[in-house]
Symmetry: C2
């Protein structure tokens, strides 16, 4: 019998209690032991919940109860989650979390603390929700050098982009729909500005390359600047517009990493990832491309991943099952502008002639009194930006700059 | 330092040696120990190979060398692979394999033997080649009751179907192309008749439900009967034709299982799995649907999965990392004709009027002097077959019967 405490009884915390209860028999068979929830910590009471009798308000009861071997942290954020996680690990309890912010910001420190205390810190649910991703990356692809990870890591923005494409609605209206459907929060900044995706690609990069990359150091562009004209070009040219987190190994051993909207060719698997779903493409030097697809958020899917980690910790008490990243290497992540892409550009206030002077290899898409649309040859984004600066000095105004995910990327 | 012996130096065996060599540094870092190939067993010599000095012809040298802790079996088939695997496990060596035939036919026995000897029998590469699948199913989805697995499990047939669709070539011509490109063997029976896919869906079912299902007991229909008219209907109606292995949990605790060509709606992820790629959809009662995609065969992709197992065994000596299936339950797998589908049917020698008498809810697709095409309402395949028997007694001749993978399936 393994006893678990759940910290934070919000959507995911409730999902964890529900999955442990509804699949109790199978979970016991697969764990080799029964797993039960002893405490649920929250500031609220839940008199209507079937778990009402387990709700407490004092974390120290959990920290001081030697019967509790596993702590599930589903509080989110850092304010409470961080000190509670430190205390739980220090008290010799394994901690399982879905908290991508805490893992991205302090994963390295918490993994070291877990290791020092002979327990595990597991966070399969922090990236890709219910999708098996971290464990496959760490275990199943361990024979590979990972050369590239490209993922649709945020369901809210993918829902918005899907609606913009299929229903032709504006970004603002799609966002309102997402909020009405419970897919976006009242303050959607972390999603639509790309910060959530950024935390997740950082975690995947940390795991794959063994160095902590701070989200603050990563070029992060959200989807708020996307217009109907961008969607129109994408449709015409056979692309889907997707917000991608990308990390790419460089020849010098460092990595390029960014979060930005991309034009994805329709025949790529991730182009077909729609609505709130996530899809993550991983390339390794032996396996070539593998793609993982599923629900990146939601009560039961996220709980599925959390409980899988609980089972892993319960089955493997005393065995180190945690990920490992080596150190904080400030220069490890490179400038995203070094990445080579074809780009889609739309300018107003200039002519095609001016464009082709700066971009002799450009392919013109359209020219009108309002704007010039073109795609560049493959080159570094930084070089494109420099040329656009020249055009801007001649009076051009940039309406759009989108990266194109070619097969070569 | 962990020493490995490779049995069978064909495509996959060579890939394993190559991956262990090319990624040696990263593999050592991730395993916590260096992994080297001590012996390669084959009846042939390989004087040109960089591994020529390790080739031997006598299995007993391996069985009797206590330095060899891990044996990689990439012989295939059962004749040599089975006795060698038994001897290696009995000698206290973990065995890693990509041999789906051996796992499907004797996995239960070999897992028990491994367990009795305190070693591991691992076979991630046996299903889905390089795609992380077995370990995610066993570990990451362990909080779920698996309700359905639906997979494109054979790359050869998927290549043929892709060519039939995109190039409009006949089955016979597409098969010739596949053979010319090295995607199909000289004797393609195991692929095109569905036996390879059948072994794989049996392994996935065994793992998910804990009972051995014998491939011989599974309804298995290949793709040799597919015609240009089938592809035409699929195209018109927005379906892709895919050879699917499926296993589905029934309310009575048993499973329905089959291998057959299906019509897959274009918006399903697996409809977009083309060429030699594999794609496997798994549904669980918490996670909903997850899909795994990648190369289901090939030298380095398959070796990627084999070497991941080697790393797992090397890292976890003395720890049970193997899958578990419980017993041989002859009545566990049910009749595939119990599965409920909409069906696509094409008949000659009868009229639409005759069809609607037997199938009052049918949707007529076309009627001509040559044939009547229609789709049925959702019902058991067995019931459809019974009605077709009635029509057959009236002189109708069945040209085609295809299952439609609706969202309800």
């Amino acid at each position: 019998m393994v006893k678990v405490a759940i910290l934070g009884f919000g959507t995911v915390g409730q999902g964890v209690a529900e999955v442990l209860s509804m699949n109790a028999e199978g979970i016991a068979a697969r764990s080799g032991t029964e797993i039960t929830v002893k405490y649920i910590l929250d500031i609220r009471d839940f008199p209507e919940s079937p778990f009402a009798d387990r709700v407490i308000h004092d974390f120290d009861i959990i920290a001081n109860d030697p019967e509790v071997e596993i702590v599930v942290e589903t509080i989110g954020g850092q304010r409470f989650a961080y000190p509670y996680t430190v205390k739980a690990l220090s008290a010799g309890k394994s901690v399982i979390t879905s908290n991508k912010e805490l893992v991205a910001e302090r994963g390295e420190e918490l993994l070291a603390l877990a290791r020092a205390n002979g327990v595990n810190y597991l966070f399969e649910a922090a990236v890709g929700g219910g999708i098996p991703l971290i464990r496959p990356l760490m275990q199943c692809l361990s024979a590979n050098e990972v050369t590239d990870i490209t993922g649709i890591l945020n369901g809210t923005t993918n829902y918005i982009l899907t609606r913009m494409k299929t229903a032709g609605v504006s970004f603002a209206d799609a966002l309102k729909e997402a909020q009405a459907n419970g897919y976006a929060e009242a303050d959607p900044t972390a999603d639509i500005e790309g910060h959530d995706a950024c935390r997740k690609i950082c975690i995947l990069a940390d795991l794959s390359y063994g160095h902590k990359i701070s989200p603050a150091a990563v070029y992060t562009e959200g989807i708020t600047g996307l217009s109907a004209q961008d969607m129109h070009f994408a449709d015409q040219a056979g692309y889907a517009v997707k917000l991608l987190g990308r990390v790419q190994r460089r020849a010098d051993g460092r990595v390029n990493i960014l979060v930005a909207p991309h034009l994805v060719p329709g025949d790529r698997m991730i182009a077909n990832v729609n609505d709130v779903f996530n899809g993550i493409s991983v390339r390794g030097n032996a396996v070539d491309e593998v793609v993982f697809y599923g629900r990146g958020a939601g009560k039961l899917p996220t709980a599925s991943a959390v409980v899988a980690d609980v089972i892993d910790a319960a089955k493997n008490r005393g065995i180190d099952r945690s990920a490992r990243w080596v150190d904080d290497a400030p220069d490890f992540a490179n400038n995203a502008n070094d990445m080579i892409y074809r780009h889609y550009v739309r300018l107003s206030g200039c002519t095609a002639l001016q464009v082709t002077k700066q971009f002799p290899d450009a392919v013109l898409v359209s020219e009108s009194a309002q704007c010039v649309e073109f795609t560049t040859a493959p080159e570094k984004t930084g070089e494109v930006l420099a040329k656009l600066d020249m055009l801007s000095a001649e009076g051009a105004h940039r309406q759009s700059l989108l990266r194109i995910l070619d097969e070569m990327n």
